[in-house]
Symmetry: C2
Subunit: 146 residues, 2 copies
Amino acid sequence: MSIIFSRECEYALQSVTYLARTKQGEKISIRELARTLKIPRHFLAKILQRLTRKGFLISAKGPTGGFALSMPAKDITLFHIVDAIDGLAFANSCVLGFRECSGKHPCAVHDQWGEIRDTLYEMLVSRNVSQMGAAMKKPEYEAAGN
Amino acid sequence: MSIIFSRECEYALQSVTYLARTKQGEKISIRELARTLKIPRHFLAKILQRLTRKGFLISAKGPTGGFALSMPAKDITLFHIVDAIDGLAFANSCVLGFRECSGKHPCAVHDQWGEIRDTLYEMLVSRNVSQMGAAMKKPEYEAAGN
DNA sequence: TTAATTTAAGACAAAACAGTCTGATATAAA
DNA sequence: TTTATATCAGACTGTTTTGTCTTAAATTAA
Ligand code: FES
Ligand code: FES
């Protein structure tokens, strides 16, 4: 069970961060990405295609083909990716599931949740995937960029 | 789409908080709870039964039957309910979906997420459902306890 | 030109989640 | 005792999410 992002979004964030570590101009295939990040291959394909249509990636077919970021890694934030995949419903939804979340009729944890939500929001907008790539200490990322 | 709790858990939290506002000894029927909180009736029935089996509620059949808290409202925290329904996976899972979450091989947002998670954890353990009931400013709760 | 490789696209399947329905059982009151 | 009302239990259905498969189209290189 995922926490706040869908599986699809988690995979997207992992993948884009991986691409952020590659050399300028280098293309990564679905096969490599799926193998190193242990993501179901065809599921990943759909996710990358979606990110391509959204304009975050460029793709190339044929041998030597693959995916790469369409813009500098520092111009893409977590927020952009989350928005593209999951949407931003979390930003104004009640954590207890009530239909409305507003200060007018707050639920019992509205204020505390508001702080958490703001911190989360800050985390998403303040970090670009270039920083993400550098900060990632997972072993599967070590090989990238070689 | 729910944020961090499942629909079932959201409904459970809403319901238990509602029960926390009722007078000592008063029993609330599934029908009333479902109507005022706008929760599907049979789905709610299963949730309340589950909470009963877990020991948080007592139930009574027949006319004048219904549900009530099995213990003082101040002895039940959000944490108890979340644990009973969703489990505590959120407390040690990676927000980016990696298999392991640990300081040994942290993902790029491990530290920031750690703070958010701690705040969330604090919110769950520090608030009991008696306080919750009092703090709830939703119109559907106004009728309770009359 | 042909063969190999890679993405594109969408149908399909499996699993998880949410919600529904029915019959049984217990209880209170007429 | 009978009737009405409520929970109990579990099977069932529908929806969303997640994952799989197949074919087509594009591209590279032999
Ligand atoms: S009303 Fe519940 S979080 Fe705002
Ligand atoms: S490793 Fe990702 S949150 Fe800890």
